[in-house]
């Protein structure tokens, strides 16, 4: 996953979005906390993602909801690189 790329995947029934933003890997929920719309095509700038449907923004590192219409955070997941593999922990 080169810088700027992203991937959505389903792990144990959970949609996860993995993003390489500014050379740092993030794993967050693939769905917006506002109306559960996919975040996959949301613009990423300065380590924040914007939901493309209604415009809520989230901090990729903490999941914090930064603007209306979202008021609740999105889950974030631990992510690490092991050899050539990116691993995400759902922490369950």
């Amino acid at each position: 996953m080169p810088p700027g790329s992203r991937k959505a995947l389903k792990l144990d029934n959970t949609w996860v979005l993995v993003i390489n933003a500014n050379d740092r890997l993030f794993a967050v929920s693939g769905l917006c906390s506002h109306q559960a719309k996919p975040l996959l095509n949301g613009r990423v700038r300065n380590c924040r993602i914007t939901c493309p449907v209604h415009g809520a923004r989230f901090d990729l590192a903490t999941g914090e909801a930064l603007d209306l219409p979202a008021t609740k955070p999105i889950p974030t997941y631990e992510v690490r690189v092991v050899d050539d593999w990116i691993e995400v922990s759902l922490g369950t």
Binding site: H34, R43, T50, C51, H54
Partner: protein
Amino acid sequence: MGKQVSNAAQALAPGEARCPDEPSTQDIIARDKVAAPAWVCSESYQYLGDHDVSVDRYIDPEFAKKEFENLWTRTWQFACREEHIPEVGDYYVYDIGRRSFIVTRVAENEIRAYYNACLHRSTKLRASGTDGSTQEFKCPFHGWSWNLDGSINEIVCDWDFQHVERDKFSLPETRVETLGGFVFINMDMDALPLADYLGAEFMAHIKAWKLEDRYIHSHVMKTLPANWKLSMEAFMEAYHVINTHPQVAVSNADANSQYDTYGEHVNRFISTLGVLSPHLKGQYSEQDVLDQFTIGDSSVLGGSERKLAAGETARQRMADMMREMFEQGTNTDLSGVSDSELLDCFSYTLFPNTFLFAGISLPMVYRFLPHPEDHRKTLFELFFLRPVPVDGNRPEPAEPVRLADDQSFTEAEGVDPGFGEIMDQDTENLLLQQQGCEATAKPGITLGSYQEIRVRHFEQAVSRYAEGR
């Protein structure tokens, strides 16, 4: 100076007196090694009367209401930078008062601005203070949506809205124009084109600056404790420097700064740096001037050698140092740039609420917005625009840092501590001035004919618009 000055000044027509026995701004610039361009070397002062300006405009909520109705609805305003919305589908929400607009790129070379409200039951389509990217503007309430070009896309359960004519349900628009990388909007569909509004002379100035080749390196927001016009006027003259910013006066030609007006909507001052204040004449050496030089973006200067040779001026040394340091620090080519552009403070106001600084060392933009609920408060934004690096890779525009009311500008990331201190000193005056306007027995403020011409010029435009002229 004192009495002789007033005697000499009496012989002159109103507005003609200048700081006596001192070189003018143009005299100072003319001695520089690398000559300044035409836009620096011109003068455009005009005497505009000497009447007091009424304080009502700063303290009366009714006046603020008139401004929202008649001024903000008819003037060109900087809404965002083009770099905020580089791709088709990118948008930026700009608010003025309770009005809100979605500024969006609908095609590679086309930007539009829509009133930010659903045409169904008026919910904002995007939250204020946000930006992002989308393929459509969809209302979060019932899901009505609009295409990027403003035409209606979907009416959920359209069988229930047979009375809605789709071709009459496009999002209402404002005028939009771009200049120097800035996106301007105007709610008045019959307004003059932006170039006519700003005037040919200023258009020649801004074109020379190539601000489109800069990017937002930092962006700071803070609420100021005064009416938006008082807040702006705190930055329109160098007359206050000797008292409010004594640490700067040693290397700032304040009393002999130059003031100009251009048409109805633009004014400026040029305040030369690396030169001793006339107020401090004889008290400091050239070496002292160099040692106490404070600039807006000194981070790039590092720990350079600062000993002057015999006969060398602080100003010339500063210009030489700046050229070298800024080229290295910002990875840009400044070989064609004059000493004056490297050093001096060029403060322009674009009516109603934007300051542009044209120089290299002070690469700021200020925006002042009246608080939508409180005429005694201003939403202030400070942008530092740096040249795009020579490798052509434009960095992402900085996210705004929001300072709390009691926080210092020096706490904001990206703000030089010396510059932050100056901003704090300006802010400290504002609450006292707002309160003084409410406390005073005198119905108007009194202005200097020359050094405060920008304030008068600005307030004359405010009066015209507020009264609906």
